[in-house]
């Protein structure tokens, strides 16, 4: 059996991706998580001294806390199997990646295991976020000093 035949058999056996179903599930669950986050922003605006611009920080922290509980009890993994990107894209997915890596590597010790692996899954998001922020801000600074755009 050559490579081409193998590829044909593989294509035949692999079930087709249920695009529409996945999109609907990601939309509903992702939207629901954001709606819960929105309720938390109202909580912080009404009961604490946060404004609409500063409320993002405590909201993200609260969502990460909820993600920690769900991850610890093994519920976030089940949610992820249903929701796909709907549970991965919100900040709770970032929290889940960090928390699950921390728990999983606990047996290797607190320093080498937890400390060394906590960003194993989420590290790429931080690296690309920081690197892209650097280049975007640099380009904007150059464009502003050339007088092309304004702050």
């Amino acid at each position: 059996m050559d490579q081409q035949q193998y590829q044909q058999i593989e294509d035949k056996i692999t079930p087709p991706t249920p695009y529409l179903k996945n999109i609907i599930k990601a939309f509903l669950i992702g939207g629901l998580i954001c709606t819960i986050g929105h309720a938390i922003t109202y909580f912080y605006i009404i009961f604490f001294d946060f404004t609409e611009t500063t409320v993002g920080n405590p909201t993200a922290a609260t969502m990460v806390f909820l993600a920690m509980l769900l991850t610890g009890f093994g519920l976030y993994r089940k949610l992820g199997q249903v929701a796909g990107a709907g549970s991965a894209v919100p900040v709770t997915g970032f929290g889940n990646a960090v928390v699950s890596a921390a728990i999983e590597h606990k047996t290797e010790g607190l320093v080498l295991g937890v400390g060394g692996n906590i960003f194993k899954l989420a590290g790429s998001v931080i690296v690309f976020g920081v690197a892209s922020a650097f280049f975007v801000a640099l380009i904007k600074l150059i464009l502003v000093s050339m007088g092309v755009v304004e702050w």
Partner: protein
């Protein structure tokens, strides 16, 4: 209208997740590639000044998805660059966005102390 406000958060947040799902299903990207792409997209939108209006419109629908992480890093860097020039590009980045990362580290560490590993995922 508080109902419209929540509906916008639901719809915009859901749509950003749909973009992620399309990158995974149609673009055949791994979850890590998908999330990195979304973060970079958030940075670029922040550079163009388009992410802030989205937050005004959708609230948590725009601040909860991971794109807002790129936006927060970039707008922090841009705000400091405006004040201090070249140095600000580096120093400003974590000005706004610290909470997502610091809370993830703190809660991740606490979780490692209290929860037991579930073993191999089957």
């Amino acid at each position: 209208m508080i109902f419209i406000d929540f509906l916008l958060a639901f719809v915009i947040g859901g749509l950003i997740c749909v973009i992620g799902q399309l990158l995974m299903d149609v673009g055949k990207l791994t979850p890590a590639h998908t999330l990195s792409t979304l973060v970079v997209a958030g940075s670029i939108l922040a550079g163009l000044g388009w992410y802030e209006p989205l937050i005004d419109l959708a609230g948590a629908g725009a601040t909860i998805p991971i794109t807002s992480f790129g936006n927060a890093l970039t707008s922090g860097a841009i705000a400091e660059a405006e004040k201090h020039g070249w140095v600000g590009v580096l120093t400003g980045m974590f000005e706004v966005t610290s909470s997502g990362i610091s809370s993830a580290i703190v809660f991740g560490f606490i979780a490692a102390l209290i929860f037991k590993p579930k073993g191999k995922v089957n």
